[in-house]
């Protein structure tokens, strides 16, 4: 099957010519998409692409290096706030602000990586969780960050072409950055660094005996992961058009982790699939109405009556949390490798088909 017969097969960027072709098709589709689809779908795809960046960063940390983080909303928030504040107060251009903000997030990732050198399991979970909550509270309570309404987000400054709407402009910035991030992550995991990450995950003691510096690679994993997340946060500020501290709460950290796990731990393709699935679900389920249930054939009216009688209609947006939770639990029970695992199984089934 997909057996690797030599070292060079293992480190190739593309597995086969077919993959190159599909990649080019994807590039063309992504380029043409905003001209063919409606504005709402452009918005959805940008949102999904931003989440892909976060999922990639988090997967490098959780999937490849084996360090649990429940505080990635903190890095996301740092990226968003730093980008906006650098543009507002230091008048930096957007791209430079994004870069500096991501570096700031990476620095905080490095700082969080330091206690992680000595902590594992539940202890690391609580330390990262505390980090996320602390960042949220600092944004809310410190006057410099604009209090509970957050700082004003400047207008998106880049216009690629005069005919494009703002959402389309954001799309054309987000998509190349996400593609670059995906390729960077893919390159990272097939290089020396990525293999060091995997070695740290599988057994940190054995890795350090083999000469992998735990201090260097663990803090590096945190920093790289925070860089990706910070970049996504900066883009998210413009995508949403406003930021406030409660956006970056614990629930967001959990959803990021859910993207990684639903997609498949330690898999780049999995991160992309998980992030896209949960982002689309998030936007779709947010606007769920009772009428949507009534539209189901045959049983629809009965279900809608039941739900209307026993549940609050104002709370229907919370259905997405139930769906997320169910997906997370079922994935762990049915296929711990996530969507990537389903994909691999399907592929193997068809490749070996009559047997």
């Amino acid at each position: 099957m997909d057996m690797k017969r030599s070292y060079f097969e293992d480190v190739r960027l593309f597995g086969s010519a077919a993959q190159v072709v599909w990649f080019l098709v994807l590039l063309a589709a992504l380029f043409l998409f905003p001209f063919l689809a409606g504005p709402y779908y452009v918005y959805v795809v940008s949102y999904a692409a931003i989440n892909v960046l976060v999922a990639l960063g988090l997967n490098l940390l959780v999937g490849y290096t084996g360090q649990i983080s429940l505080g990635h909303a903190g890095f996301f928030g740092i990226g968003a706030y730093a980008t906006v504040l650098l543009m507002n107060k230091a008048a930096l251009p957007l791209l430079l602000a994004l870069l500096v903000a991501s570096l700031i997030a990476a620095f905080f990732g490095f700082l969080l990586g330091l206690p992680a050198l000595r902590l594992e399991g539940p202890y690391l979970a609580i330390a990262t969780l505390g980090f996320g909550l602390t960042i949220e509270i600092i944004f809310e309570k410190w006057k410099f960050f604009g209090g509970s309404t957050g700082p004003p987000v400047p207008d998106f400054p880049i216009h690629f072409s005069s005919g494009l709407s703002m959402d389309q402009n954001i799309y054309f910035l987000v998509i190349p950055l996400t593609l670059a991030g995906t390729i960077a992550a893919r390159n990272l995991v097939r290089s020396r660094v990525g293999r060091a990450f995997v070695a740290v995950r599988d057994s940190d003691i054995a890795a350090s005996c083999m000469g992998v510096s735990l201090m260097y690679y663990k803090t590096l994993a945190f920093a790289v992961s925070a860089f990706f997340t910070g970049l996504a946060g900066g883009l998210f500020a413009f995508h949403l058009g406003q930021i406030d501290p409660t956006t970056f709460n614990l629930m967001l950290s959990i959803i990021f982790l859910a993207m990684v796990v639903v997609g498949g731990v330690a898999s780049i393709l999995g991160s992309v699939m998980g992030a896209v699935l949960l982002s689309v679900l998030n936007l779709k389920l947010k606007g769920l109405q009772l009428a949507d249930f009534a539209a189901i054939p045959v049983i629809g009216q009965g279900v809608a009556d039941f739900l209307g009688a026993f549940f609050m209609e104002t709370g229907m947006a919370n259905i997405r949390f139930i769906v997320y939770g169910l997906i997370m639990v079922l994935i762990m029970i049915v296929e711990p490798l996530g969507l990537y695992g389903f994909w691999i199984r399907t592929k193997i089934y068809w490749k070996t088909w009559p047997f």
Binding site: V62, I68, P115, R118, L119, G121, P122, Y123, A125, I126, A127, L129, G130, F131, L133, T134, I137, I138, K141, S203, I205, A206, L250, M251, I254, L257, A258, V261, V265, F310, F311, M312, T314, G315, M316, N318, I319, R320, F321, I322, V323, Y324, G325, L326, I327, M328, V329, I331, M332, I333, V334, P336
Partner: protein
Amino acid sequence: MDSLLGLIQVFVGGFTVGSAYSLIALAMVIIYKTSEVLNFAQGDMAMAATFFAFSLLAVLGLPFYAALPAALLFAVLIGLAAEFLFLRRAKEPNLLGLIIITLGLEMIIFGLASWKWGADPKDLPFPVSPWDTIQIGGLIISYLELLTVATAAVVAAGLFLFFRYSKLGVAMKATQLNRNVARLMGIRTRRILLSAWGLSAGIGALAGLLIAPGGTVDPYMMWDPMMKGFASAVLGGMTSLPGAALGGCIMGVVENLFGFYVSTEFKSVVPFAIIVIVLCLKPSGLLARHYIRKV
């Protein structure tokens, strides 16, 4: 003299808050001790039980002595269902996988509860008032605070006796030490895990019912206490029951001292700062034996 009394008052206030944290920490430690699962759903299980009590009291108008056991029973059922339906079914459970399952459970319960009861805060009709106070030697304590401390003390003592003298408690300890050997000794380890979840959910619900009257009943009510309770459990060492009780008290006192003397705004950040510092010095918490992994 006044400042000394003020200091003691702050201490006592922190201690009473801390005993609520202790209850949650104890509940988390019971599960972690027996099955090595970090139960992130603990807080929301308690929240659901509190909402259930609210429905019985305020909507159906049941008397409190009937609603309390019903709410506790409801919590125990949630705990049993969680273990039986989800945790037990997990394939190749590792730490991350188990955390994901309990996080997913948390989201399911959170979503269901805020769908059913809505996000607007409600008041729990509770027979013990959080506003009526008594004075003991110059210290002002409310009846609810007294009740919280008393409950935490009774639960902690009860758990100590339970794990020391009861057959089920000893079996739980054996299951934690080595599941296979416990099984060979004739202990039905799956039932032990099930009962640990039930017990823990019940204790968590007690905490929820004691926290709710001082604030409001809403879907987010247990987030903050749950984080503090988790932090307390980690501070105490995650596997040690006395550690969890002690951790909760330390957490409450330090938080209150900081809030009183330094800044109220950043009060809720303090526990995590303490946690990080303590863990850097003692990576397994205060009262747990340092766990050395065999390679």
